[in-house]
Subunit: 529 residues, 2 copies
């Protein structure tokens, strides 16, 4: 390993150094002899060295590695997505992709590369992305005649062709999506899933004849994003509109689902659905002949969710034992563990485990057994808790005798004995219950962090208490800039998260907490990722 | 559009110029008035300007564009995969991904970027790829401290981590796959799907304790590749082993499925399944403790198929009317076209079309109707023929009266009237028949190109006749190099395609066609893509 490790060290010092969590020692597996009765020692050493409540950043880095979601990579800000996290990505995709197909959105694939001239076409847009763009300047030993950018997003990659393909009103709407990787060479604090230099996402790009159609789609897509977070990841989100300062560079308006991480008191943009208006259409000359034979300009949307979703889920549900996966996205929903005792019917126990797994698999439940003979049951419990499997089934001599299994919930630790006859029905109920409970608990915690304030002093106090602040606001860009400037500190400045669609009543005469001017709306404020 | 076109021109002159096919004029759509009876002119102008038999290269470039699979992109060697081709990619993925999951291969995602030190670790391997590697040297305005490569393939990206993850025999086999883009900055003759600077593929990377397990998997995967070509794309392939000269750089041996393009007389490597042996394991120190407690080295495989598959399918089946898609991969298997006549029951015809589509959709057949009122039926026929839809259904007044539809096969042009009562059953039969017929015809054509030769003179003659040459060979690397040198011409040199697993008898005393030494095996030879 020396050679490889050297390389990694070299590369790291060359690029920005990347904080890597300490990994716990792997227990030394015992040699299996092949005999039936083996002594199995209770192993220790598995577990997290950091606590979520005490040391959140380190806890997070540790849990994504020890839960086998992520491996740190030798290029800073890039991470390996291991099967445990890719399976979650795949499950979300298996929901989202058919949903957008129902909306007649089709998948395509545009190149990774974009030429400078096209990239710079929309000025606000490029200003937003320019500092983070990675440039290819060489192939083999030769310099390219002109450097070529790697897509940070694909508006400018795609829209020259929208201009070509869209001629008449019958070419509209044009609704495309792609699943791909994008690169944003950020230098600030890379964090697995949350902020990485390369990430996976889907990006939808649509063009319509009318603003009404575009507006409608923006919200349909946002609802799908809400469902990914709330129904799949069990993470409560707020739907709303971004401020002018926080909207997508070059777009007309941005809607988003916003999550909140109580431990850090930070909001996090979960996914965004933008109406681009006609800005890009103007720059890229995406025109069509309307039904009256007149030249008209299209209305466009773009929308995306990324692997960030997985990080938000980890942050919201994880605990000091490790990951906690909602059943709907867990690649293993039920782990079945044999608990043999000396002189007990070991073979019978292993057979019961296999039979249980098969019964669950047939019922469409993602189940696996852990029959490894070189780890104790206790060690296995810890490992699967670390990996966040929603439900553990233990089968020991007593269970075998009583024709039952013992189920242990990852979320609550509750233990439930279930008779073999009711197994499938009860396990399904339990998984549904865990899914709902994770959401309820997360929502309760999130809601407890929401604080309504009216004055600057209340705002500052709430910010210090890591609240998700709901405040009456005049909706002026200069005021948001001012709030940012006044709250700037080591851990960033406060900004708007969104103006929620679900607006509380705004009594006449209510004034902006920051400017004292008449308030126009309620907005969420806070620090954010 | 002027602005955009300028950019494209600029960029093209900067990069290598890219040959773009002429696109036929779009017929000018007529204005729809909304009334029921409209005059619909027979439009012309849709069609290919090149013939497959006369001008294959231009025909291919034209058909992938006019069939709406590809749009040429403003960076040379990069292409846009439009929904019509991405759907095919998706259908193949929906076959392959579950198949490898049955083999307990799991999906993951490794970064796009690889550091120089890791990339260069396996010398033969990097020699094979170095000239084509694209390098990122800048982010925003800043130079990176060390240039970073974009993966041309992921052996060197992944294997440092295999070294980390594999400790004991219980960590084996390790079987991962990823679906991703890779970049090979080739300068020779970029061709959509077949040879492009960025392409999509899956790459599997597995590690085993024994060579036997690795050998077995190589062939299991190769069989899946054969099924993709033969069962999905209806393209006959030869399974075999690559010569030492043609094997994967750094690997132990390479197996492949080889297709053949009769029009050009060129072989084309369809997909490859490599046994890497222990070369990478040695370089990356991928060791484990075996059951006896001894240190041992893993055996590795890697295997991939790419979007090239789609190009091979186009080349094999396409004709002078456009694409011809095998039903199993066509996103639209049946296109239903109303054929209204003056004074006929137009509404009844349109309703029958809708009913037909719904009936087919319910039966799991991918059907669509083309109810556009600004194109004539004849123009629609041409367009869907261009796009290669396997079966067209026409419904006119006579069909309505007779409670039937008229089906027209894309492959043979045959017209079949089908009673409404038998519709689903008969359409399914027809689609199966088309699938089989495409394969049979392609196989017949391919087989007619195979020529067995014994002498150098026969070899040269067969090469000039664009044959796929099966020849007895001494299996010596120097001899293959010599053949290459002696046949080098404007259109490339002859080389081995593969040594087929299905070997004809090799009578004792048979000599190599090129060296006169004793022949060790039969090998396919030819020019190739």
């Amino acid at each position: 390993m020396a050679g490889t490790d050297d390389n990694i060290t070299q590369q790291q010092s060359a690029a920005k150094p990347q904080k890597q969590p300490k990994q716990p020692k792997q227990p030394k597996p015992q040699q299996s002899g092949g005999g039936k009765k083996k002594e199995v020692k209770k192993e220790t050493g598995l577990g997290l060295t950091n606590k979520k409540a005490e040391n959140f950043g380190e806890w997070y880095s540790e849990v994504v590695v020890n839960g086998e979601m992520i491996e740190y990579y030798d290029i800073s800000g890039c991470y390996i997505l291991r099967p445990w996290s890719m399976a979650i990505w795949g499950i979300m995709q298996a929901f989202f992709d058919p949903e957008i197909k129902k909306m007649k959105i089709k998948n395509c694939y545009f190149p990774l590369f974009v030429s400078n001239t096209v990239l710079e076409k929309e000025k606000d847009h490029i200003e937003g992305f320019a500092p983070e763009v990675a440039w290819v300047t060489k192939s083999g030993e030769s310099d390219l005649e002109i450097p070529i950018a790697i897509r940070p997003t694909s508006e400018t990659v795609m829209y020259p062709y929208y201009s070509k393909w869209i001629r008449g009103h019958r070419d509209l709407p044009l609704k495309l999506n792609q699943w791909c990787n994008v690169v944003r060479w950020e230098f600030s604090n890379p964090t697995p899933f949350i902020r990485s230099r390369e990430f996976l996402w889907q990006e939808g790009h649509t063009a319509f004849a009318t603003k009404e159609e575009a507006d409608t789609e923006v919200l349909e897509i946002l609802e799908l994003y809400r469902r990914i977070y709330e129904e799949y990841l069990a993470v409560p989100v707020v739907k709303g509109k971004k401020s002018e300062l926080e909207k997508f560079a070059g777009g007309l308006y941005t809607t988003s689902v916003e999550a909140f991480i109580p431990n850090t008191g930070r909001g996090i943009q979960g996914a965004t659905s933008h109406c681009l208006g006609q800005n890009f259409a103007k720059m890229f000359e995406i025109n069509y002949e309307n039904e009256k034979g007149e030249k008209a300009m299209v209305w466009q949307n773009s929308w995306a969710y990324s692997t960030r979703t997985i990080g938000v889920m980890v942050m919201v549900h994880g605990d000091d034992k490790g990951l906690v996966l909602p059943p709907k996205v867990a690649s293993v929903q039920v782990i079945v563990i044999p608990v043999p005792y000396k002189d007990a019917d070991t073979q019978g126990i292993f057979d019961a485990c296999t039979a249980t797994v098969n019964m669950l698999l047939e019922a469409g439940i993602r189940a696996e057994s852990d029959a490894r003979d070189n780890y104790s049951p206790g060690w296995k419990y810890s490992q699967w808790e670390m990996k966040g499997v929603p439900l553990r089934i233990e089968i020991g001599p007593k269970d075998l005798a009583n024709k039952q299994v013992r189920a242990v919930r990852r979320d609550s630790g509750a233990k439930i004995d279930i008779g073999n006859d009711d197994l499938v029905v009860e396990i399904k109920k339990l998984l549904d219950n865990i899914q709902q409970n994770l959401f309820d608990v997360a929502k309760h915690k999130r809601d407890a962090c929401i604080q309504i304030i009216h004055t600057w002093d209340e705002f500052v106090a709430a910010l210090n208490e890591k609240k998700m602040i709901l405040a009456p606001w005049c909706d002026e860009e200069e005021v948001e800039k001012d709030v940012k400037a006044r709250t700037k500190g080591e851990t960033g400045a406060a900004k708007t998260l969104c103006s929620p669609f679900d607006q509380p009543e705004l009594p006449e005469g209510t004034v902006c907490f920051a400017s004292g001017k008449p308030a126009k709306k309620w907005s969420y404020w806070g620090k954010s990722y």
